[in-house]
Amino acid sequence: MTYAAAALLGAVAGVLAGLFGVGGGILFVPALTGLGLTQVHAEATSLLAIIPTVLVGVWRQSRYGNVRRRPALVIGVASVAATVGGAAVAVSLHETTLRRLFAALLLVVAAQIAWRARRGSA
């Protein structure tokens, strides 16, 4: 992958971040491994890249009145605490089965969100 292609993937990741409230890691990590970084370095570097992305995203979304600070703080802090538990379980459980279960869960959630939107309550 060229640097220009990686930068372009970064820009697309940013659009997704602003649009969907995600960090962009889903595109950062493949862009960075494409540049030759190891999986661990790519994931670590992706976390740093997420910071300017969400800072700008939060700034814009705040101006549109879409950020609730206290809930964000509670979720963020609880999330940091839980990563320790997740990492511990990740090394002790069967990963493929868990991945499939989580993917299935995502499909159920997707269906629920679409269903709500159809009823006009989302």
């Binding site: 940013g14 971040a17 992305t53 839980a82 993917a103 679409a114 939107a117």
Partner: protein, 114 residues
Amino acid sequence: MLRLVLIGLLAGFFSALFGVGGGIVIVPLLVLVAGFDIRTATGTSLAAIGITATAGTITYAVHGDVEPVYAALVGVPAAVGAVGGASLQQRLPRRTLSYLFAALLVAIAIRMLV
């Protein structure tokens, strides 16, 4: 409050487990469990991710795994893109945004399955 703590715990747990970002967990739970509007859910999710990403970066940086120049290479264009994404979101009807988000979840699920 309890719901928000639970959402945070689930987001952190799953992101550590599968390397998925917290956003795909936080946004649907804010909508389905905490009754947030889809736009407020995405904006609030971004702010929460800022906290987790900062903590994660510090943890990895201690081990020397973070490459700042590469982070800037993708992160700076992403910051610019985020302005466009947030602006685009304001112009999309909520219903369309919800459908698009559902499609994103389906895409991620498929990627995890294959």
